[in-house]
């Protein structure tokens, strides 16, 4: 298989397979959660669920002071790499072009120097999360295989993208193919792991807010 053949496979059949697994997996899992249903509540309560739920979806974004003090490394590095991932994924010109091809619309891109800087921030922040996870005794106790797997499949597209942009070590077609393949690995692993939090995060936050907003006894 030549480099261009590998690249063509990654851009063609590889991407098709990964997309099917990703979309189908995410849809089934989200539907399964939503269709669990909730028992009809016959009791009349004082507080509303909806407003409190929506409020919590936003307020939980800011960590409270005690939590921040206790896990400042986790929170700072976590935020840094999430913001970095967002910028790199959604503001880089080739990525916007890719998304536009699927969803039908695009938006302006950021200069490559900005993307490059955010990629470096993301890489450093992700390495910090890993080191913290492995050196902090409590974190290490809580860490299981899935945590390391999800870290790895998230880190891989970032590092391969950075290497592909700077053409380090291998030729450009191979580097691009490896980058696309690493994204496909992420897509395949996504629905079966805690990476699903990207979709379930706000559902969970709403539910938490709804519980605390509801003042009364459920029937």
């Amino acid at each position: 298989m030549t480099e261009i053949e590998l690249l063509s496979w990654a851009r063609g059949p590889g991407l098709q397979i990964a997309t099917i697994i990703f979309v189908a997996g995410v849809v089934i899992r989200v539907l399964e959660i939503l269709l669990l249903g909730r028992k009809a509540n016959l009791a009349e309560a004082k507080g509303g669920e909806m407003s409190s739920g929506l409020k919590t979806m936003i307020t939980r974004t800011v960590p409270d002071r005690t939590t921040f003090k206790r896990s400042s490394v986790t929170i700072v590095s976590g935020y840094a790499f999430h913001i970095g991932l967002f910028v790199v994924c959604f503001l880089s010109a080739p990525h916007i072009l890719f998304l536009k091809d699927i969803i039908g619309f695009g938006w302006p891109s950021a200069p490559t120097a900005v993307i490059d800087a955010f990629a470096v921030i993301t890489i450093i922040a992700m390495l910090v999360t890993l080191v913290n996870r492995l050196t902090n005794r409590v974190m290490r106790y809580l860490t299981n295989f899935e945590d390391l797997l999800t870290w790895f499949v998230t880190f891989l597209p970032v590092i391969t993208g950075y290497i592909a942009f700077h053409r380090i070590g291998m030729t450009a077609p191979t580097l691009l193919a490896v980058h696309i393949l690493s994204v496909e690995l992420l897509l395949v692993v996504f629905p079966f792991t805690k990476l699903m939090h990207a979709f379930t995060l706000f559902i969970a936050r709403w539910y938490n807010g709804a519980i605390s907003g509801y003042r009364g006894v459920a029937s």
Binding site: T2, L7, R11, G12, V23, V27, F98, I102
Partner: protein, 377 residues
């Protein structure tokens, strides 16, 4: 330079005994010393050699006997020869090419028929072990009858001619990687020179067609050092194919700023912005177009507003479409996503129904605890 790449005796001056030295030949054609030295300086800078090498190149070229070159054309379009002959505008590069002893070339030689084949056989016999074999075009393996010359199949002619060659220069993407004949579905079973010849040094000079000065540059290197230049992992001379088009493109600053032509006639295209979104393969293509340019350094495709099609890379014809940006999927992904989502939604509902069924079933068999149960003992 790898030792095993050197010619048999490491001496480039073994050549066609019929021809004089290159220096004599050039002088007889009216090439001045000044323009000859200029050519040597250009060649040195092209190959990234220090200026101290210029006299060495001049000396080697001047004293080199005109080496015999046999040029074989197989499944090709003559575009490579066309490209090479475009150097025939009284440039010194073209005279260098004139000055090798081109003993066999379908398109350029005067002889035809039996006389042409005889010329090839004589050249091979007299220069056995020393001649340069240049090949353009791919070789069909499915049926030898797909492409023959004087009743000889391409495969037979190549293997026979390669036996006495000092080195082989595969010119054009067809000879180097199979090219367009090799493109899906490859009806003739076309393969490249290196797929067949395993025991000779092969220099790949891909491109559709390759840049004329790259072809002459490779020949000049061979004449100067008596060895083939340093090659990359797919057999291309690193001096010409060491950098990607994208990295040397004069439109690169627009890519970095995020300024792109969206169509061929929009404001961005008129302003000369980056052609990435129009399918430019510059980022994955290694060639010297952006530096040496074409037509005596006039321009290269991107300069005239067309994206690079990646013609110096293997399988460029099947690379997912010339006008499809590199980051785009080659197939319709939104359709796949919609179908996958629809199928999954149905499956999700079915799974939920099963879950509910399970829940209802367990509710049914649930036995309520009463106060009597607690006071049983």
């Amino acid at each position: 330079m790898k030792k095993d790449l050197l010619l048999k005796d490491g001496n480039p001056q073994q050549g066609n005994p019929l021809g004089g030295t290159l220096g004599e030949s050039l002088r007889s054609q009216g090439v001045s010393r000044r323009s000859f030295m200029k050519f040597c300086a250009t060649t040195a800078s092209m190959m990234a050699l220090p200026p101290s090498m210029i006299p060495m190149i001049a000396n080697a070229l001047e004293n080199a006997r005109r080496p015999s070159v046999i040029w074989l054309s197989f499944q090709e379009c003559t575009g490579c020869t066309e490209s090479l002959t475009r150097a025939h505008t009284s440039t010194v590069e073209s005279l260098i090419f004139d000055a090798i002893s081109l003993d066999y070339h379908h398109t350029l030689q005067a002889a035809s028929g039996h006389a042409a084949e005889a010329a090839r056989e004589v050249a091979m016999e007299e220069n056995f072990g020393n001649y340069l074999l240049v090949v353009d075009g791919s070789i069909p393996l499915d049926n030898p009858g797909y492409s023959t010359i004087a009743g000889i199949s391409n495969l037979d002619m190549l293997t026979e001619s390669a036996k006495g060659a000092a080195a082989i220069v595969a010119v054009g993407t067809c000879a180097t990687y199979g090219g367009i004949p090799h493109a899906n579905p490859n009806p003739t079973g076309a393969v490249s020179v290196k797929d067949i010849i395993k025991d000779k040094p092969i220099i790949n000079v891909p491109g559709c067609p390759p840049i004329p000065v790259v072809i002459t540059g490779v020949l000049a290197h061979y004449l100067t050092f008596g060895a083939i230049p340093e090659l990359d992992h797919i057999g291309r001379p690193k001096v010409f194919y060491g950098q990607s088009i994208h990295d040397r493109c004069y439109r690169r600053p627009f890519y970095d700023k995020g300024q792109f032509a969206e169509t061929f006639d929009d404001e961005g295209a008129k302003k000369g912005w980056c052609l990435y979104k129009l399918g430019c393969k510059g980022p994955t293509t290694y060639n010297a177009c952006a530096t040496t340019k074409w037509n005596n350094g006039t321009s290269f495709p991107i300069e005239s507003g067309h994206p690079c099609i990646g013609c110096s890379e293997p399988d460029f014809w099947d690379g997912g479409g010339f006008y499809k940006a590199l980051s785009l999927p080659t197939e319709d992904l939104s359709k796949t996503a919609v179908y996958a989502a629809a199928g999954a939604a149905a499956a999700g509902v079915a799974v939920s129904a099963l879950n509910r069924g399970k829940k209802n079933a367990s509710n049914k068999i649930h036995i309520k605890t009463t106060i009597d149960d607690l006071t049983q003992e």
